[in-house]
Symmetry: C2
Subunit: 460 residues, 2 copies
């Protein structure tokens, strides 16, 4: 699909050393973190300026060449898997923090900036960029925008879309589109920035991102509540919210996940607990003290066996890094780890957790469940071996059952991992035919040659 002449053209724009054609290079960018078949791109490009990015996009458009933009490839729904014979465009060289504006509380970044790097840079100035996806140490802000990445702090602070004030992106044709503003309020024109967020690279190629910052909360307190029954833990989540307390983080781990994480991280988690809640409140010191006390009292009333408040920052960090190791820990147990993120209104968490236990039993599959219980976003994780065809068909049936249940409970297919290719066939079930048609019309209008990450979200 990529002719010799076109390769030469790419080399002319980017320089020879930024155009990768060897199979080993292409194989490196053939997959992402989803359990899906890798797809070899024809060529991998590494632009070093927005201008190069735009020229490459226009060239793909002119030649009808599928283009998949890739940050760190931590995508969990196949959004970064390229099209066969297509182009992968790396954002790794577009990694500049262009501005941190302390007076007006925003930052301007290129798409390849690693999330944790921006966080650290703004924290050094007493500011806060809250969205903290599990992969924040390696993932990029461009990827976060493409996937509308969530994280542990979604409950109180929202997700990526709540922080995108403006974008500059290239339309498929290579034309520059600016949208949004450096002002808190902006209603000039269509909110194209919001449309681009979560569109998984199918509507435009982002070259610059304006992100809202907020003051860093001056205090925080983390605690761990241990429960001898899963039901008690999940009902505690609802009880906390019912008291009008919105913790920064409210995480759930079932026994299977607790044991696996403890094996992996030796953080001192209670391996005999049926379930754990990890809770952090933050804000003004007086509020933190009061809310921590209230949360502790609620946990106790709801029957927590033990409540442990982190004594210092080191202990707090140990607990959170244990929680953040849940996925790698689970992934070590079996060759294939299917991480789902069906999401329900938070009051339906007890029903969803019960349903996950039933599904685990029915399909005879180990399912470890953890996740952001406070915002109804659970990560049931099925451990399996994809090469075992018989078991794999049970896994597929279990995943279907998880989605069915989430939708039945008024939830959604994906809280934060995206639709990609992994879930696009379920989308009509959630929204109906009208939504798919409307979405396809937009896609076809702005990308008539269907070059921008084709097949993702709304299918081919």
């Amino acid at each position: 699909m990529v002719s010799r002449a076109l390769v030469k053209e790419f080399q002319r724009i980017l320089g020879k050393e930024q155009v990768f054609l060897e199979e080993i290079d292409r194989a490196t960018y053939a997959y992402d973190a989803a359990v899906l078949e890798p797809v070899l791109p024809a060529v991998v490009l590494r632009p070093r300026s927005a201008e190069e990015l735009g020229r490459v996009t226009a060239l793909c458009h002119e030649n009808g060449l599928p283009l998949t933009v890739r940050g760190a490839g931590t995508n969990l729904s196949g959004g970064s898997i390229p099209s066969s014979g297509g182009v992968v465009v790396l954002t790794t060289a577009l990694n500049k923090i262009l501005e941190i504006n302390e007076a007006d509380l925003f930052a301007v970044v290129q798409p390849g900036v690693v999330t944790a790097r921006l966080m650290a840079a703004v924290e050094a100035k007493g500011l806060f960029y809250p969205p903290d996806p599990g992969s924040m140490a390696v993932c990029t802000l461009g990827g976060n925008v493409a996937e509308n990445a969530g994280g542990l702090r979604g409950l109180k602070y929202g997700v990526t879309r709540d922080y995108v004030m403006g974008l500059t992106f290239f339309a498929a044709s290579g034309e520059t589109v600016k949208t949004g503003s450096r002002t808190v309020k902006c209603v000039s024109g269509y909110n194209l920035a919001a449309l681009l967020v979560g569109s998984e690279g199918t509507l435009g190629v982002v070259s610059e991102i304006i992100l809202k910052l907020i003051p860093l909360p001056p205090a925080r307190r983390a605690m761990m509540a241990t429960f001898d029954g899963v039901g008690k833990a999940s009902e505690t989540v609802a009880a906390i919210i019912a008291q009008r307390i919105v913790p920064a983080t409210l995480e759930f781990l079932d026994n299977f996940t607790i044991r696996t994480v403890e094996d992996y991280s030796k953080a001192g988690l209670p391996v005999d607990a049926a379930a754990l809640l990890l809770i952090e409140v933050d804000g003004h010191p007086a509020v933190v003290a009061e809310e921590a006390e209230k949360v502790e009292a609620i946990c106790r009333q709801m029957g927590a066996a033990r409540i442990h408040v982190a004594r210092d920052a080191a202990e707090r960090d140990r607990v959170w890094s244990a929680r953040r190791s849940a996925l790698p820990a689970l992934a070590k147990l079996k060759p294939t780890c299917v991480l789902e993120d069906a999401t329900v209104p938070r009051s339906k968490i007890p029903a969803m957790i019960q349903a996950l236990e039933d599904i685990s039993r029915k399909f005879a599959l180990p399912i470890g469940t953890f996740g952001h219980a406070g915002d109804g976003n659970l990560h049931p994780t099925i451990l399996t071996d994809r090469r075992d065809k018989k078991e794999w068909s049970r896994v597929e049936a279990a995943v279907d059952a998880i989605f069915e249940k989430a939708l039945e409970l008024g939830g959604t297919l994906s809280g934060e991992h995206g639709i990609g290719t992994a879930k696009s066939r379920f989308l009509e079930k959630e929204f109906g035919r009208g939504t798919i048609l409307f979405s396809k019309k937009i896609k076809a209008a702005v990308d008539p040659h269907n070059i921008l990450n084709p097949g993702k979200i709304i299918g081919e």
Copy 2:
């Protein structure tokens, strides 16, 4: 444009008494709150169910009939002014609050619900719906969604788009489109809800809105700081934000506005002050006490002549209702009141206020300036008489100069009033040709007969 047969069809769908054809009825819906020529629609329709709304939309589509949805008509940029010979669809009968979910913190409403009614209903349950446009006592949530309405609390709490979790709307063809979710996190499919917010009725007809609610702040404190120089007041705004304090409200009034408001409301405002800041902090009582003290200290350091803290709720309400009367008070002075909302990054407020004084002098026009200084969203208000052609041409030149300056300072054409027809010719200047083209492609794709509020935002 509307045939007898079509009128009969509308009457069959809605009932005769919900189809208005008399000139007096049509004239009532020919204008909105913007200073623009009224345009007579051919017929005014009042559907009483979502189903009727969908059928009416489909019928307009089939007949190529322009359709403008209208809530309370408080629009300030011409977005509710119909097309000549077109249809006005009233949402006044679609006014049910369908659900207030206390466990999951959301509300589901029809588009015709008045904003203040939802606010009161959720406050009675200890919950909070923050977006508070100036017209909140009469405007509708459907209109707020169409315009992405802001308000006084935008600084701390954001605007309408920050609270829209999901929408159901009719595509131009009458097909139902669902988007978003009742869950805090949702990345299923394109974020069509966010695209619809602020699209001024040009992309779909909203029938149901899911709105995020938050816990009601338990305490609040309002204060008024008086300054003998405009510069001192505007620099104080930046100084407060620089101290990492984000008040719920941070309003500015210049002397002209103060005197006019005091004449109108007799609220006891200091008529000899060069400028006033009205500031409210809210949240936990300890935080409120601390932040109020800090804000007071900053105002004093910045040279405030006098600082008065509201002693009780009654006094607080008096101050805010005086502020909310700024527009009607100014509007009484002269036959025509041109209310602008050019918006700048908040650190540029002093420069913008200076520029407004220069523009007032240059074009020999009285400009009263007030507004949401904390989020950079000022409302320079030009008092004039549109029938005076010579003066009116100076007004038009002054408005152009205001936009030029806002863009030059890194701001935007509209913070919260929308583009409508009033500002669409300036849009390319803010964003460039690529943005207009991209927007037009979307509009043409989802509304091929161009029936949905044609001409608004991106022009004809």
